[in-house]
């Protein structure tokens, strides 16, 4: 899936990812390819981006929103 992390400082991450693990208001979730369209609130914590080469990148999130659309695009609005 195509992951884009937006913040007010610019686009923090843009690229393909295998998985995205993040804490939300209703618990920790991991999104994989072709997840159903979803909009949810993010909680403070570290998000883990699973990259295509099996490596993991961490990303600090204070609060924000997550949107998965129906074209396998995952967007994060991070504050």
């Amino acid at each position: 899936m195509k992951l884009t992390i937006y913040s007010l400082r610019g686009v923090e991450f843009e690229g393909n990812a295998m998985s995205f693990n993040v804490k939300t208001k209703s618990g920790e979730i991991t999104l994989l390819d072709h997840h159903r369209p979803l909009i949810t609130l993010l909680e403070e914590g570290a998000a883990k981006i699973g990259l295509l080469d099996q490596s993991v990148r961490n990303f600090e999130i204070k609060s924000g929103f997550l949107e998965m659309d129906d074209h396998d695009n995952l967007s994060i609005l991070a504050d």
């Binding site: 400082r9 208001k25 159903r36 979803l38 949107e67 659309d69």
Partner: protein, 306 residues
């Protein structure tokens, strides 16, 4: 011809004014660069915010207070200008756009001023200023915009006004800014697409965003899952998105302000330089004329003595 002392005094005055405008030009240039950077960096975020708002608008059954249209209600007009002057036609342009809007629209208005110039203009025109905000000038953070955003959304929710219009300056490039009048509340999801296309530049660095996120997007409704619940989500998301929208408008206005000031100060110091050059030539001419006069006198006296 003017006396030497006078000319010299004038030249010195012009030169020191030139030094001041030069200093202000440099300061404005730095602020402009920084403001431009912040504005451009926050643009992808702002686009995404608008994009998300639009998508949510297509989701049926998602109702919220911010879309409510009440035709009879008052309109809050937020006028965004600078705090300080020496900025060329910047404020005049915004104020003129504002006057035109008021003359055309003819509604029942409440006014809020951002920036000292906006307030003094409103007071001069005899309008009541419900609330004023200062010091948004330089590098503003999202937290600092909170009082304005809360004021706008709070009044809308408590039905003090049913429409919010912002008049401000939009930053197209360092040399080109234009006034915009944008209705930010009630949220009209159909207008959001228009706003996105307005903001996205036609050329340059951000132009690709147009294809990626703009026109190609389908009008289908996406079957989203909302977590925790759609009401709860809207409660959090909407004020946040609105705050971002307002923040972005202020950022654009700031970047425009500094760009306008830079241009104004640059032409002021160029003029000062020109004028000081001209005065120097005048001064030299006058001095030379005086010397020649004395020489003539001396040689006349000498020949008279012979």
């Amino acid at each position: 011809m003017e006396s030497l002392q006078n000319l010299n005094r004038r030249r010195k005055a012009v030169r020191s004014i030139g030094a001041i405008t030069k200093a202000m030009e440099v300061v404005a240039a730095i602020k402009m660069r920084k403001g431009e950077e912040t504005t451009l960096n926050s643009r992808p975020y702002a686009f995404k915010v608008l994009d998300l708002l639009e998508k949510l608008g297509r989701v049926s059954g998602v109702e919220n207070v911010f879309t409510k249209v009440s035709p009879s209600a008052k309109t809050l007009v937020i006028l965004i200008t600078s705090d300080r002057g020496l900025i060329g036609a910047f404020n005049t342009q915004v104020l003129r756009a504002f006057e035109n809007f008021i003359a055309r629209d003819r509604g029942d208005y409440i006014f809020a001023a951002v920036g000292k110039k906006a307030e003094s203009h409103l007071l001069k025109k005899g309008f009541d200023v419900l609330k004023k905000f200062y010091g948004f000038g330089d590098f503003i953070k999202v937290e600092e915009i909170a009082p304005l955003a809360d004021f706008v959304t709070g009044g809308f929710i408590s039905e003090k006004w049913g429409r919010v219009v912002v008049t401000s300056m939009h930053f197209r490039s360092a040399l080109k800014q234009e006034t915009i009048i944008r209705e930010i509340l009630p949220l009209d999801f159909r207008n959001i697409r228009k706003t996105i296309l307005e903001i996205i530049p036609e050329h340059g660095r951000w132009a690709e965003f147009r294809e990626k996120n703009g026109v190609s997007a389908s009008d289908r409704e996406i079957d989203y899952i909302f977590e925790p619940s759609s009401e709860k989500l809207m409660e959090n998301l909407m004020p946040h998105l609105l705050r971002m929208k307002i923040y972005h408008l202020v950022l654009e206005a700031n970047a425009s302000e500094h760009a306008a000031r830079y241009v104004a100060m640059k032409s002021a110091s160029d003029n000062a330089e020109d004028l000081s050059g001209k005065l120097l030539i005048q001064f030299n001419n006058a001095r030379q004329a005086a010397i020649t006069g004395e020489m003539v006198e001396m040689s006349a006296t000498q020949s008279a003595l012979k």
